[in-house]
C-alpha cells in the first residue's frame, strides 16, 4: 500500500523502474527476458539465413555466434539425422524441411527472446509478395511492363529526351494533367457531357464556349471533356494575362494553350487542330453572380474570321455549372488596377475564409457540344466582310444562349 503511494520515478519497489536508468518490469517484459543491451550481437544472431539457423536447434538455449554457422552445410547434414523424434528414413528433402522448420523455430525463439525488431518484422519475401500483389491490383496483370514503361518515361523526362511542338504543347504533361483533373470533374462537379459526337474525329474545328466562374476553370474542364470523351487535344486560346503570369503561363503552354490572336488561331486551325475560344473573355468570367448565364458581347468576332479563313466548322459549346463555383458578389477595382488584374473577386467565402475560400463550390456541370456551324460555304475572302462576321457571331451567340436556358431548366438545382 505504502509502496503504491510513492511518487512515480522515486525508485520504489523492485520492478517499478525509475524511468531514467532502469526500465520497469512491464517494459522489460515487453522487451523480453534479457535486459536490452548489446544490440550488436543481437542483430548478428538475428539475421542468419534459414539454412544457417539449423544448428541453432541443437543449442537452442544459447544461439551460436556467426562464425559457427560457417560450417553450415556439414552441420545441417549432421543435425538432421540426429533429430531424435524422427524415426522414418531421412531424405534430402526431409533434411531441408527440417532445417527450414528449425530455422523458423529458432527465429521464433529469438523473437520471443527479445531480439532486435529487425528480425522480428515481416519477412522479406512476404514484403515482396505484398508489393507484387499491390502492383497487380493497381496496375493490372501487366504491371511489370507498365512499371518499366513508367520508369523509362521518367528517365527520358529527366534526360530532356522528349518532343514538344512549336506552341510548347507537351503531350505527356497533358496526359498527367488530364488524369489529375478527372476527380475534380467527375466526382466534384459530377460532369455530364452531351453531344460529344459533334466534335469532328479529325481535322480542324473551332470550339466556341461561354465563359464564367471568376477563375477560368471551365477551360480546364472543357479540355478534359474533349480529351476524355472525344480523345482529342483541345488547344485553348488564352488571354495575354495568362502568359505573363509565372507558373500559370508555363503550364498553359505545356497543356496546349496559346495566345488568343488571329495568327495563332489560324495556324492551329489550318494544321487540323481543335482550338477552343471563350470570346467573352474577362467580361464573361468577371461578371457578377446576379448576371449569371447572360452572355456578354462576343468579342469583335475575330474567331469567326479565323474559322472562315481556315474553312473549319464552329462548334458552339454551352457550359452550365461554372457560374456557381465562385459566386462573384463584389469587386475591388482600385486594388485590381494596382495589381494589373482585370478584376479582384470577392465571393461569399474568398477573402473571408482565406485559402479555404478558394475551393470551388461543388456545382453540377453539363457541357453540351452543339451542332457544328459550317463555314466552308463562305469564301475565305468573306472573312473580311464585317456584316457577315457579325451575323455569324450572333448566330453562334444565340445558339449558346438558347442551349444554356434549356440546360438550366433540365439541371434543376445547381448543387443537388
Amino acid at each position: 500500500m505504502s509502496d503504491e503511494k510513492r511518487p512515480i520515478g522515486t525508485s520504489g519497489t523492485p520492478g517499478r523502474g525509475n524511468r531514467s536508468t532502469s526500465p520497469s518490469a512491464a517494459a522489460r517484459a515487453l522487451g523480453g527476458a534479457q535486459p536490452v543491451k548489446r544490440p550488436v550481437t543481437k542483430v548478428k544472431k538475428a539475421t542468419p539465413p534459414p539454412a544457417k539457423a539449423a544448428p541453432a536447434k541443437t543449442t537452442a538455449k544459447k544461439p551460436p555466434p556467426a562464425k559457427k554457422a560457417a560450417t553450415k552445410k556439414a552441420a545441417t547434414k549432421k543435425a538432421a539425422p540426429q533429430a531424435p523424434p524422427r524415426l522414418r528414413a531421412v531424405t534430402d528433402e526431409d533434411a531441408a524441411a527440417a532445417a527450414a522448420a528449425a530455422a523458423e523455430e529458432a527465429a521464433r525463439r529469438t523473437r520471443t527472446a527479445g531480439a532486435a525488431p529487425l528480425s522480428a518484422g515481416i519477412p522479406l519475401d512476404e514484403i515482396v509478395v505484398a508489393i507484387v500483389q499491390a502492383a497487380q491490383r493497381v496496375l493490372g496483370t501487366d504491371w511489370e511492363a507498365r512499371i518499366a514503361t513508367l520508369l523509362a518515361t521518367i528517365r527520358r523526362r529527366l534526360d530532356g529526351d522528349y518532343e514538344i511542338d512549336e506552341f510548347g504543347f507537351d503531350p505527356q504533361i497533358t496526359e498527367v494533367f488530364t488524369a489529375a483533373i478527372e476527380p475534380l470533374a467527375e466526382k466534384w462537379f459530377r460532369l455530364e457531357v452531351r453531344g460529344i459526337e459533334n466534335i469532328p474525329a479529325e481535322g480542324g474545328a473551332l470550339l466556341v464556349a461561354n465563359h464564367s466562374g471568376t477563375v477560368p476553370i471551365d477551360g480546364l474542364i472543357t479540355g478534359y471533356a474533349v480529351k476524355k470523351y472525344a480523345n482529342r487535344n483541345l488547344r485553348p486560346l488564352g488571354a495575354d494575362l495568362v502568359f505573363s503570369l509565372p507558373f500559370v503561363g508555363q503550364i498553359a503552354r505545356k497543356v496546349g494553350a496559346t495566345l488568343a490572336c488571329t495568327e495563332d488561331a489560324e495556324r492551329l486551325l489550318t494544321t487540323g487542330e481543335l482550338a477552343g475560344v471563350w470570346p467573352e473573355g474577362f467580361k464573361g468570367i468577371g461578371k457578377p453572380f446576379a448576371e449569371r448565364y447572360k452572355l456578354q458581347r462576343f468579342g469583335r468576332g475575330g474567331f469567326v474570321s479565323s474559322a472562315m479563313r481556315a474553312q473549319v466548322p464552329i462548334v458552339p459549346v454551352s457550359i452550365v455549372g461554372a457560374e456557381e463555383i465562385y459566386p462573384l458578389v463584389g469587386n475591388v477595382p482600385s486594388l485590381a488596377r494596382l495589381l494589373g488584374l482585370p478584376y479582384l473577386p470577392i465571393t461569399p467565402f474568398f477573402p473571408l475564409l482565406g485559402p479555404l475560400g478558394m475551393i470551388p463550390l461543388p456545382s453540377k456541370w453539363i457541357i453540351e457540344f452543339g451542332e457544328p456551324i459550317r463555314t466552308d460555304a463562305y469564301e475565305p475572302e468573306s472573312a473580311d466582310d464585317p456584316m457577315l462576321l457579325f451575323n455569324v457571331t450572333d448566330q453562334v451567340r444565340e445558339t449558346i444562349q438558347q442551349t444554356l436556358y434549356g440546360l438550366l431548366v433540365e439541371r434543376g438545382n445547381a448543387f443537388f
Binding site: D159, G160, E166, P246, K254, D264, R267
Partner: protein, 328 residues
Amino acid sequence: MGRVVLVTGVASTFASRFAHRLAHLGDDSGIDRVVGIDTILPTGDLDGVKFVRADVRTPVVGKVIAVEDVDTVVHLDVGPPTRGRSSAAKELNVIGTMQLLAACQRSSTVGKFVLGSSTAVYGTSPRDPAMFTESLLARGGVRSGFPKDIVEVESYVRGFSRRRPDVIITTLRGAQILHPDIETPIHRYFTNPVLPTAMGFDPRLQFLHLDDALNVLAEAVLHDRPGTFNVAGDGVVTLSQAARRLGRPIVPLLPIGFAVASRRMIRTMGSDISPDLHRLLQYGRVVDTSALRDIFGYDLNWTSQETFEEFRATVKPGILATLGGRTS
C-alpha cells in the same frame, strides 16, 4: 569579270568563316574576290580573303567600296554585345550600318545588299504570338538594347531600299547560332555550371546550326533572293529541357529583378551574361521559317533539337548528367 563581295565584321568567328567559305567556292561561283573589313585583326583563317583594316563607322568604307569595285555587300557587323554595357555595341550596330548604307547609296557598283539581322527584331513579350512570321511586328521588348538597335538597323535598310530600288536587298533574320566555335550569348549562357532561370517561366528557344547559317548566306550572295526571311532551326527546345539535356541544374530566381540577379549570379561563377538575354530567358521566341523554305528555296538541314544535341555532345556534361542514365 567576276564579282567582288565585301564582308563586314570579319574579325568575328562567324563572319570570317563565311568570308573564307565564299573565297573557296571555286570559279563557277563567279566570285572573283572577297574583301573583309573590320577594325581589329581577325583571329580566324582568312586565307584567300583580302582584309582591309578600316572602321565601318567612318566614311573610309565608301573608299573601300569604290577602290575594290564591290558589287555585293554582306553586312554581318551587327550583333548583340557580348559583355559589358551596350552603348559601344549600339554605336557599332547603328552608326556602322548608317555609314555603310550611305557608302552603298553613293556607289554605282553595288547591286546587292545582304543584311545578317537577328530574330531579336521581334522582341520578346508575353503578348507574342506562338510563332512570328516575317510580316509581324514586335509587340514588346524592343525598347532598349540590342533589339532596339536591330529594329533601327532594319529600318535604315528599308530606307535604303526605297532610295535605291535597283539594289537587291536580302534581310536574313537568324536565330542565335549554337555551335562550340561560335560565341553567341546563348552559347555562353549554356556553358555555365548552373543555369539561372526566371521562376515560373519556361521559354521556348530556337537555335540555328552553323552550316545552315553559312549556307543561307552563301545562297543569298550567289542568287538573287530579295526579301526578308527568318532563319532558325525548326521545332523548339524549352529552357528546362535544354538544362536537363546538358545535365546542368537550374536555379529559379524571382522574375522581378531577374536581370540583375542572374547577372550577379553568373558573374559570381566567373562568367558573364550578355545584356538583353534575360528577356529571352523569360518569354522565349519562336519564328516561322516557311518563307525560307517556300520563297527563298532553302531547306534547313538541322532542327533546333538536332542543333542543340550536337552542341551538347561537345560540352562537358553537367553534374546532373547521370540522373537520366546518360553516360556520354
